[in-house]
């Protein structure tokens, strides 16, 4: 402890500030990069907000919910034997509104009521526009808007009947299922996604849909991609929609995750310089400490401890900045924010601290 206090004292105020600012900026870059990449990874899961844990999201084998087509009638038939099953149909489409591509979601009556308190929300031919999206596009309640569908190439005039609030609908257009179906070009028994909940849990649903052994703990997010052609029905299980999309591209999820870790680690390499700089900047003071009987090991341990404190503090600050700063990336009108998950935050702190410590431990002269 005495050595730690001595080391902290000989650093001086300016070096403390300099090192902390450097660590903060490095962590900001590392954590923002990791969060953005994982944000894009979880983009579809953010859109298809399955709600309660244990729900099974059924899609067709597709690259995106906007391209998925599920036969709900066939699903109902297969799930008849499972008691207490509730199937929520959703239709996802991309549409052009005021020269922007935005996401439109068609919901059932119950879900619509939870999205908006507007009494007319469930009316056919009506649209609810997300609060944030309305602000972004300058669309007011009560106006008629022209929406172009890339699926049918038809223009549709729809009245904006209210505002949708809450994540993730505040960045989307929301309509009833019928309206969304004719924009998407679907028949009455088709949907993009079916969210299935059962009293007996996800395992019973998956068993009925013949997805094979269920190795994950019930309660996690479950995405089931089904293929149905010519009377054959097969299903494949994923833990995220991105897993399904990557699988379609022939890339294992692990490759993507390893790539993100590699990118973050490469950025954190810059912290190597920091450790070496600290040693060089206070070489004389550290030499005096060594002559006064402090061992090299305890000196280095103290330096590493100071760096850890700054890395932890920097991580917390970087997390707060990324959570509250108005940063974000627009994908189809939907904002992907670099708000870090605890895992990414911890990884960023450990990587920057680890490389800075390696710079200290690898540097000579102490």
């Amino acid at each position: 402890m005495r050595v730690l206090a001595e080391v902290a004292r000989v650093w001086g105020f300016r070096l403390h500030v300099l090192v902390f600012l450097q660590i903060l900026l490095m962590e900001l870059a590392v954590i923002a990069s990791g969060s953005l990449l994982f944000g894009v990874y979880g983009f579809y899961d953010s859109i298809v907000d399955a709600g309660s844990p244990g729900a099974v999201v059924v899609t067709s084998i597709s690259l995106a919910p906007f391209a998925s087509v599920v036969n709900v009638g066939q699903l109902r038939e297969r799930l008849r034997s499972v008691p207490g099953v509730e199937i929520e149909e959703r239709v996802y489409a991309l549409v052009r509104l005021r020269n922007s591509t935005v996401i439109l979601v068609g919901l059932g009556e119950e879900a619509l009521k939870s999205v908006s308190s507007s009494a007319s929300s469930a009316r056919q031919g009506c649209l609810l526009i997300g609060e944030d999206l309305a602000r972004e596009l300058g669309v007011r309640e009560g106006v008629e808007v022209l929406v172009y569908s890339p699926y049918t190439s038809l223009p549709y005039v729809l009245r904006v009947c209210g505002l949708a609030s809450g994540w993730p609908y505040s960045w989307m257009l929301v309509s009833d299922l019928t309206t969304a179906r004719f924009i998407r070009g679907f028949g009455s028994s088709q949907a993009s996604v079916a969210v299935i909940r059962s009293e007996r849990g996800a395992a019973a649903v998956l068993e009925a849909l013949g997805s094979g052994p269920y190795g994950k703990g019930v309660g996690e997010r479950v995405v089931l991609a089904v293929r149905s052609a010519g009377g054959n029905f097969s299903a494949k299980l994923y833990s995220a929609y991105a897993g399904e999309a990557l699988d379609r591209l022939g890339v294992p999820v692990e490759v993507f995750q390893a790539l993100v870790v590699a990118v973050c680690a490469t950025l954190a390499v810059s912290a190597l310089m920091l450790g070496g700089f600290v040693l060089a900047a206070r070489a004389r003071e550290f030499a005096v400490l060594r002559y006064s009987g402090v061992s090299s090991r305890s000196l280095k341990a103290s330096l590493v401890a100071v760096l850890l404190a700054y890395a932890a503090l920097g991580g917390v600050l970087a997390g707060l900045i990324l959570c509250y700063a108005p940063l974000g990336l627009r994908l189809f009108g939907f904002v992907v924010r670099p708000a870090p998950s605890p895992m990414v935050l911890a990884a960023g702190v450990v990587l920057v601290w680890g490389f800075a410590s390696a710079g200290v431990l690898g540097g000579g002269g102490v």
Binding site: M26, R96, L154, G250, L267, M273, L274, L331
Partner: protein, 353 residues
């Protein structure tokens, strides 16, 4: 030993300096004493610069430059080449698969209503002044199954479900019921809809053809990923730009002995600073070029690997000048930090002596 090495390096370029001095003396006869002195200073700087470049490319400075300049530029080059590849692929896919959907000229006035047909959900009904204009605009061909052209035409999809039924719709002008007279097959339209001849009047909407909606959506997708890549490229430069003053400070310290030898040879402080800065800047520029080139090669290797595994990738992208701003910014920042470090470090070592 180090002193001997430095002396050998100085001797090795003795010929170069002599040539410079003779040249400058020759010019001095014409240009005056001031010019001679200035040119002699320049010669000394150039000589020291050449020596220091030799030192820098073999030691710590090069390692630092590779880490602080080349590595981030490699990473951001990969992102930027990826960004260009995504944009080019999106454009290529759009033009090859959706290219035939050329935009047709002209817009028409229309009113859009929704009809309940047979109690089976809503179908949009396009009320247009002239059905022929609508059909022409969207590349549709009409087939009249019943009677003449004075009724509703359904799309093929709607025809399958609602053939033979009447369409009932309401507008602010009143409630109407028309019979279905045939169906249309359209090149650019899909889904269920109906087209009816109608006097649009006031309150109509200007309908312009949007067969390029799919192109626009694909373009937006490409632009979204492009923005992501650009943001990641900037983020990958940030920590290294921040670390560059520290790194160059360490690099200049690593060549402090050579700097002392040059000072001992009679080089002025300003000349020494200039020579150190020039050699650092040279190493930074070479490392930048190396980093960008490595990034482009790695990105192309990844694209080649995709082709090898059966993905059709058309583009052979290079970072275009419009996205070179991050590179330029990083190089400028590192050169600036090199300059500041040189001013601070070389001056300080002099005062310490």
């Amino acid at each position: 030993m180090a002193g001997l090495r430095c002396k050998w390096k100085l001797a090795s370029i003795g010929l170069f300096s002599r040539v410079c001095e003779v040249t400058f003396k020759g010019r001095g006869l014409v240009g005056g004493l001031g010019e001679v002195l200035w040119m002699a200073d320049l010669a000394r700087i150039v000589r020291a610069w050449v020596i220091l470049i030799g030192v820098c490319t073999r030691g710590e400075v090069l390692r630092v430059a590779l880490l602080v300049v080349s590595l981030p530029l490699t990473l951001s080059s990969i992102y930027l080449v990826g960004s260009v590849a995504v944009t080019q692929e999106a454009a290529t896919i759009a033009t090859t698969t959706l290219g035939p959907a050329q935009q047709r000229p002209g817009c028409i006035w229309a009113r859009i209503a929704y009809a309940q047909i047979g109690g089976e959900g809503l179908v949009p009904v396009y009320l247009v002044g002239n059905t022929g204009d609508f059909l022409s605009m969207y590349g549709c061909k009409a087939a009249y199954a019943v009677g003449g052209a004075s009724g509703a035409l359904l799309s093929v999809e709607a025809w399958k479900s609602f053939a033979g039924r009447d369409i009932r719709f309401s507008t602010p002008l009143g409630v109407y019921s028309v019979g279905v007279v045939g169906f249309v097959e359209c090149r650019y339209l899909g889904g269920s809809f109906a087209v009816v001849n109608f006097t649009v009047g006031e309150g109509g909407l200007r309908l312009c053809p949007q067969p390029l909606t799919q192109l626009e959506v694909v373009g937006d997708l490409g632009a979204g990923f492009s923005r992501l890549m650009l943001l990641l490229a900037l983020l990958s430069l940030l920590p290294f730009a921040v670390a560059s003053p520290l790194a160059f400070s360490r690099a200049v310290e690593s060549i402090s002995r050579e700097i002392s030898v040059l000072r001992g040879q009679g080089l002025g402080l300003g000349e020494l600073e200039s020579a150190v800065f020039l050699s650092l800047a040279s190493v930074i520029l070479v490392s930048s070029a190396y980093g960008v080139a490595a990034g482009v090669v790695i990105a192309h290797g990844a694209l080649w690997a995709l082709r090898f595994f059966g993905f059709t990738v058309f583009s052979r992208p290079l970072p275009p000048p419009t996205v070179l701003a991050p590179f330029t910014m990083h190089v400028v920042i590192t050169i600036l930090s090199g300059f500041l470090v040189t001013r601070f470090k070389v001056g300080r070592s002099e005062s310490a002596c």
